[in-house]
């Protein structure tokens, strides 16, 4: 087998050294830069502000850019870190780094508690709760004078020693902050291409598809928010030592808004965007200072203009115009293990659905359906529009809670399991209206399938890439591996979705109207693809309206109408069943009457 050629090794797991040489070089450069910076005064302060803010804004990249959750309290977490360092060193005489660590822990715990409370709910709730947290923290910092020193703030925050070297000197301390900023940038950058980072982006792009691809959506959001709180506190703690004087008004709602704007202005989906956005917005008010009193007004207007004219932020704008056309990956990969298996249809029940019901108020979308899917078969579920087919699949995969009945999958009762747990048990699906992760590449989409917990390759990052490529080979889309899914045609997006499911080596595959929206050629291709999947032991349940397709692949057909099962059996029996004909073509008029 020839070696793979091209940008294959995605992610820090696949290449543990990824980014480290560049980061090492960056550290040397920033230390050199810090050594020639002014030792005190205005410009030193500007540099320190930019570097510490950048660390906080990188936290927003994780929660907002990667995971798509709005947090409007980054200045509060920044403030927690700053106050922990200031109060810890000045009032309690603790070592600087110990105080910083305490601040990070407090901030992380606050982030987790807020996240655990709200992230189960819709997107705007985190925004709302973070606003409240921000306001309450500001009030406490201002009014709990005995502990926080109140509006007067904390003065004379000391700077630490590192390996016996005092960083009292402004340039030395600036060096420390810049090195920290480089390391945090490296962390955030590597996070993006890690398994956790991919999970976050999947949650951002499509929560439902993420959950049925084995991702714990709630847990992923909480972790993302926790990381952002921790990074905020690190930035704030270092800020405290930099300015040596802090007060509550430095960590207000307005500052949270500024940080949010920095992330979006630079481009929140990239750590480099955060750096650019931070530097520009720290400098912009300085550049606009000649405007005297109205400079903040001009700043506000600039924010609107940037949002209108640079939708992906400054970095997104630059990146889109300088990115090299990515090359494709050549070289053979081992084919999907599935294809090497032999497996004929058997009588073993894989998915047993008993008396399943789903009611929406008075509407009985699924009304007491019994159904058994047997291993290795292609089982079609058909019925007129509104007969409850998609609702049925949604209940089976856990997106809807069953009103009644029981679902057993490979001997396990899954009726009340969360969607990602059902997927981890081996139940994969596609959607009628395609659900792919539009902001990610084709390869990344399929990798999310391959790294499903419980998949044989899940713990080896290199094998995950190979498996994803194998799935792309199967749907003949390897050439598009590095394109953004959102740029592909509808039919190709559907193949990406199928490849994502196949890469997870599912036990059972549920296809919800895979032929919907495809043209005739694409439908023929899809039929061929399904036929290639037959006979390898994979159990498939397919919903579709295209009778030709269904007849050509199905071993067994179940027909639903008005939420009830009206027929069940072999294709010949079912398609000649009078009730089925009536459901599809209407009742024959009784001519004799």
């Amino acid at each position: 087998m020839t070696a793979l050629q091209g940008p294959v090794l995605q992610g820090p797991g696949a290449n543990p050294w990824r980014g480290l040489p560049a980061a090492g070089l960056a550290i040397v450069v920033v230390i050199a830069a810090a050594s020639i910076a002014p030792a005190q005064g205005y410009y030193l302060n500007i540099l320190m502000q930019a570097a510490t803010y950048a660390i906080g804004v990188l936290g927003l990249v994780v929660v907002l850019g990667y995971c798509g959750q709005i947090s409007i309290a980054q200045a509060a977490f920044f403030g927690l870190g700053a106050y922990a360092v200031a109060l810890g060193t000045v009032d309690f005489h603790i070592n600087f780094f110990v105080a910083l660590f305490i601040g990070v822990v407090i901030s992380g715990v606050c982030g987790l508690v807020l996240g655990l409370g709200t992230l189960r709910l819709g997107g705007h709730y985190l925004g709302m709760i973070t606003i409240s947290f921000q306001q309450i923290l500001t009030l406490v910092l201002t009014n709990w004078i005995d502990f926080t020193h109140g509006p007067d703030g904390v003065r004379n925050v000391p700077r630490p020693n590192v390996f016996g070297v005092s960083l009292e000197d402004g340039r030395a301390y600036l060096g420390l902050i810049l090195v920290a900023a480089v390391l945090v940038t490296l962390f955030v950058w590597r996070l993006k291409a890690s398994r956790l980072g991919r999970a976050m982006q999947a949650v951002r792009d499509n929560e439902l598809a993420a959950s049925t691809s084995g991702i714990n959506v709630y847990g992923t959001k909480v972790v993302a928010f926790g990381i952002s709180a921790v990074l905020g506190a690190i930035g704030g703690g270092l800020f405290s030592g930099g300015f040596r004087y802090i007060s509550p008004d430095q960590f207000s709602f307005g500052d949270s808004i500024v940080m949010l704007t920095m992330a979006l202005l630079g481009g929140a989906t990239s750590p480099f965007g955060a750096l650019v956005g931070t530097v520009v917005l720290v400098l912009l008010p300085e550049w606009l200072r000649f405007l005297k009193q109205i400079y903040l007004a001009v700043y506000g207007a600039s924010v609107i203009l940037i949002m209108v004219f640079l939708p992906d932020g400054l970095w997104g704008f630059v990146d889109a115009r300088t990115r090299k056309r990515v090359t494709t990956i050549t070289g053979a990969v081992p084919p999907l293990p599935l294809l090497a298996q032999k497996g004929e249809a058997t009588d073993e029940a894989v998915l047993v659905v008993a008396d399943l019901a789903k009611h929406f108020g008075g509407l009985k979308a699924v009304d007491g359906v019994n159904l058994t899917v047997r291993r290795g078969t292609v089982h079609a579920l058909i019925g007129p529009n509104g007969s409850g087919k998609t609702t049925f699949i949604n209940v089976v995969t856990g997106l809807y809670e069953a009103t009644g009945g029981k679902i057993t999958f490979v001997g396990q009762d899954i009726t009340t399991l969360a969607p990602h747990r059902r997927n981890r048990a081996g139940l994969a699906r596609t959607y009628q209206n395609i659900r792919v992760f539009r902001g990610m590449t084709v390869l990344e989409n399929v990798m999310i399938g391959a790294e499903r917990q419980g998949n044989d390759v899940a713990h080896d990052p290199k094998a995950v890439v190979l498996r994803a490529l194998a799935a792309l080979d199967f749907v003949e889309m390897r050439g598009d591996a590095h394109r953004l899914v959102g740029d592909l045609s509808y039919g190709h997006q559907r193949y990406v979705e199928i490849a994502r499911a196949l890469a997870s080596s599912p036990h059972t595959l549920l296809l919800d109207e895979p032929a919907a929206g495809l043209n005739l050629t694409e439908k023929v291709e899809l039929g061929n693809l399904l036929k290639r999947l037959k006979g390898h032991g994979l159990t498939i349940m397919i919903i579709d309206h295209d009778m030709k397709l269904v007849e050509s692949v199905a071993d067994h057909i179940t027909v639903l109408n008005f939420g009830k099962r009206i027929a069940d059996g072999t294709p010949q029996d079912v398609l000649s069943h009078p009730d089925v004909i009536a459901a599809y073509l209407g009742e024959p008029r009784n001519e004799a009457a």
Binding site: I131, L139, A297, V298, G300, A301
Partner: protein, 291 residues
């Protein structure tokens, strides 16, 4: 007990202001899915217009108010044109950021023009108020409550009983369907912006004699409108009104009986409590994402 009733009365007065601003806020969420961080700026601008017309130019109070409301309605259109229109197809977040930009812009323009000091404004009526038993009903608070009640009634009438109201409701429920039925969706959204801005402006003028007029009033009013909206139920119109009233009463009582410096914290503690225990708010979330 009488102290208590007195405080409840004042709380309802302030709460009616929050209710009006929150109402404008909710209408924008419903009509255009815009979470407007500049909602409090509508109130600030309305109050400053009153200062300019009445305090500086000596135009009679009521005429000044009517002029300000009309100008604020027009301003709502300009606001929509700058912050919402260019970004309307790009999802919620970019519009949020541009309303934040607008908020920064407006506050600092006003700061530049009128400075940071608070400006006092006369009450709407010369009579100080009515004494009922041991409770003193100050005229400004009474005016706020009565005007807010009239406006809510008027809005109910327009929304439920007129064709315009039906069109506005249809737009907020399903824009695509509404436009297929021949409803001019863009016009409906613009009307909502104008109305929301006028409502916010009026609330600012009504509260001006109580809080005094300053740049800082904008931010705090925006945040209270948020809180009222969550407490009442995200996107719910009766929720916005009741949430606003509840918030006003709770913070007035909290300030009187517990702590003055933490007055503003009560709103947010209430909000946190609701988010943790009953996130759908008093009336239930009206806007949910479809599966």
């Amino acid at each position: 007990m009488n102290d208590f009733l007195q405080l409840v009365f004042q709380g309802l007065g302030i709460g009616a202001i929050y209710a009006l601003v929150s109402l404008g806020f909710v209408l924008l969420i419903r009509a255009a899915s815009v979470v407007n961080f500049g909602q409090g700026e509508f109130s600030m601008l309305g109050a400053y217009l009153l200062v300019v017309f009445f305090n500086l130019w000596g135009i009679p109070y009521l005429i000044g108010m009517v002029l300000s409301v009309i100008i604020m309605a027009g301003f709502g259109l300009i606001f929509a044109y700058c912050t919402y229109w260019p970004l309307r197809f790009r999802g919620g977040l970019p519009v949020i950021i541009s309303t934040i930009g607008a908020s920064i812009f407006l506050q600092n323009m006003v700061l530049f023009l009128y400075g940071p000091s608070s400006v006092p404004v006369d009450d709407l009526f010369d009579t100080p108020g009515i004494q009922i038993g041991e409770v003193f009903l100050a005229s400004q608070y009474l005016a706020i409550i009565v005007i807010a009640a009239l406006l809510v009634g008027l809005q109910y009438f327009i929304f439920e009983k007129t064709l315009l109201g039906k069109k506005l409701q249809a737009t907020s429920q399903d824009k695509e369907m509404a436009s297929l039925l021949g409803i001019p969706v863009v016009l409906m959204i613009m009307i909502t912006f104008a109305y929301s801005s006028a409502l916010g402006g009026l609330a600012g003028m009504l509260v001006a004699p109580i809080l005094f007029v300053s740049v800082n009033m904008a931010g705090i009013i925006t945040l209270k409108a948020f809180a009222a909206n969550i407490i009442g139920g995200y996107g719910s119109i009766p929720g916005a009104i009741l949430g606003g009233l509840a918030l006003g009463v709770a913070e007035t009582l909290g300030a009187a009986y517990i702590s003055v410096p933490y007055k503003d914290a009560f709103a947010f503690l209430m909000l946190l409590a609701f988010l943790m225990v009953r996130p759908q708010g008093l009336f239930g979330e009206k806007i949910s994402e479809k599966a």
